[in-house]
Symmetry: C3
Subunit: 262 residues, 3 copies
């Protein structure tokens, strides 16, 4: 197992940030209504174009034109379950790279467990979650408490590696250190800030950012690591100048929207 410590400043990250801005990826996000506004703003800040089309009649036609797709099951409902399934199938068939964010999977909530298992069969390019969710998706008892993680990202790493090897997906585990692995190599992304867990949708926004990065960058593993490093950097910078969660969230978008423009 190759381990790479990956953090700003790094020419590779800077190059990926610039390339994403230059390519302006169209990201189709089927995401939860709590995180949706922040998800969209994070994508815009990164230079991407978000589209949050969520109709069964429409998600199929989006997959072939989108650069990347995000499927986040945070507020999946009886009515939207098939929207997710159909969007995953469409992305797989179109060969469009897509990200699975299995929010709160493994916490004893039946519908998202079922839907996420179905989605997994459509070969996501990347699976992103906190330790509890990755453990949950891998079939372990994760101890998830809602969308919050009670497990440590380092504890989830062995199962994340196994999940990557079994599915062929890049697996990203968020935590104090983010781990990004394809089952052979592990990028370790330190940084970030504790306030990132105190603003709703920040974790989900990493999923969105990854969809933008893998959408236009060649290597999905490095692209996922770069997206993680960019968000960690923005969080670190935002946390250095703010104390409350309100100004932190605002500063996070400020940092994301100006990184690489200096």
């Amino acid at each position: 197992m190759t381990r790479i410590s990956y953090t700003w400043p790094d020419e590779r990250i800077a190059a990926d940030v610039a390339e994403v801005r230059r390519r302006s990826p169209l990201v189709h996000a089927v995401t939860n209504f709590v995180a949706a506004p922040l998800n969209a703003n994070v994508l815009l800040a990164a230079g991407a174009v978000p589209a949050m089309v969520s109709a069964l009649e429409e998600v199929g036609s989006f997959a072939p034109v989108a650069d990347g797709v995000l499927l986040n099951v945070g507020t999946v409902t009886t009515e939207s379950a098939d929207v997710f399934r159909y969007a995953a199938k469409a992305a797989q068939e179109a060969g469009t790279r897509w990200v699975l964010d299995p929010v709160a999977v493994g916490a004893g909530l039946s519908l998202r467990d079922e839907v996420s298992a179905d989605l997994l069969a459509h070969e996501p390019t990347v699976i992103r979650g906190n330790a509890s969710e990755i453990l949950g998706l891998a079939g372990a008892a994760g101890g998830a408490k809602g969308p919050d993680s009670t497990a440590d990202s380092a504890d989830a790493l062995p199962l994340a590696i196994e999940l990557a090897q079994r599915t062929g997906a890049v697996v990203a585990v968020s935590g104090v250190v983010d781990y990004v692995t394809d089952g052979t190599t592990v990028y370790e992304v330190p940084g970030g800030h504790p306030l990132m867990t105190k603003v709703t949708g920040v974790g989900c926004s990493l999923g969105a950012l990854i969809a933008a990065y893998v959408g236009v960058l060649d290597d999905p593993l490095r692209a996922t690591a770069s997206a993680s490093a960019v968000l960690a950097l923005a969080g670190e910078r935002a946390g250095a100048t703010t104390r409350g969660t309100g100004t932190f969230a605002v500063a996070l978008l400020d940092e994301l929207s100006t990184i690489g423009l200096d």
Copy 2:
């Protein structure tokens, strides 16, 4: 009728703030999509863990593990009406304290009137609304204009007391002065700021905050009053340093996330 004027600084409020931070209540909120991001951020700022699971298949399994539940009918739809009914039933059966926020009830909108009446039968721990909504729920002509209140909280107090006596719930009426009553005692909570009515979801966020407070504090009446006092304090402080609604909303979260941490 005992009347208690309840405002910061007060050792009871400070103790409740600290206890909620220490216990980190898991709050299951089925809420409207307009207020959802702010609701979640207010819960996080207070030290709680929000979960906004909204699937009929999932709400039942959440009630037993959540500390508190919020049911806010602001954007109830044909599809979600049963989600609310089922979540209320599950909370009642599990003995989990829950808050009913009957947004715009009594304004002539049939579905929310019906659903709220159904929910009322499942014994909410707390009913929170503005004067028009409380009058509407109590069966009076409230004159509600959308989610806005055209009635005064003092005018609604007699019917709020009657509603508390009839249902056994704590009733919280928001206004220039907030009133919180169990039918025997009335907490009067002054403070707040006019800009609180100019940011979407602030009233709904009080419902969320109450769900967190009653979820882990012993006395639902005092817990509801403390949640009201905390939001009023945050609003007052935010209003003292800002003029526009954008910075006010940001400052409100800053204050909520730092109260009690000094």
Copy 3:
């Protein structure tokens, strides 16, 4: 064709801003969940009262009491398609002015194309979109890339004029310069700021603002132009003091909520 350059400072705009604040229009918005929080906050900042009732059982009873209605198909679903149709029918029958925002129409997404065509039959007072959407609605190949516009507002003007003449609606095309036309007169509204396209929901918020303005002002053409000029001014002012998209969005609401209060 009469052309009017329309930009702040202008006594007509100032008078309209003041009148909207004085009348406090109730705006019923059926809008997408990504833009909903910002839409509501923009309406509140302008002195309007937003209501985002979205149930099939309820939208009909809202049209007669609302001053203005916004129908934004951004995240239309199988379940909500009829909500839009019914809301448009109810607004038409009640004689309530309403705004159609055909988000991403013409981009090859079947449901919104169908629904928007149905809505058009119910005589919207105003149609608002970016160039791609107006071209799409007018039946041309718009080249829309999600909700983003790849066409220029000036390019769409001829078809916008034709659309206004054919439907009787005021047509507003957003771009570097906004054009507002009834088919006879064209208001040209310059200003704004590039960051307005980097915050989600700003374009949709113009639709909401227009619904408030046409709801209580006599002349729909001028009201639409005034709403556009107010948002352009707020954007320009916000852009002058901020660099990142986070603070820009906050400053935009600050400006909107204080314009005309000096």
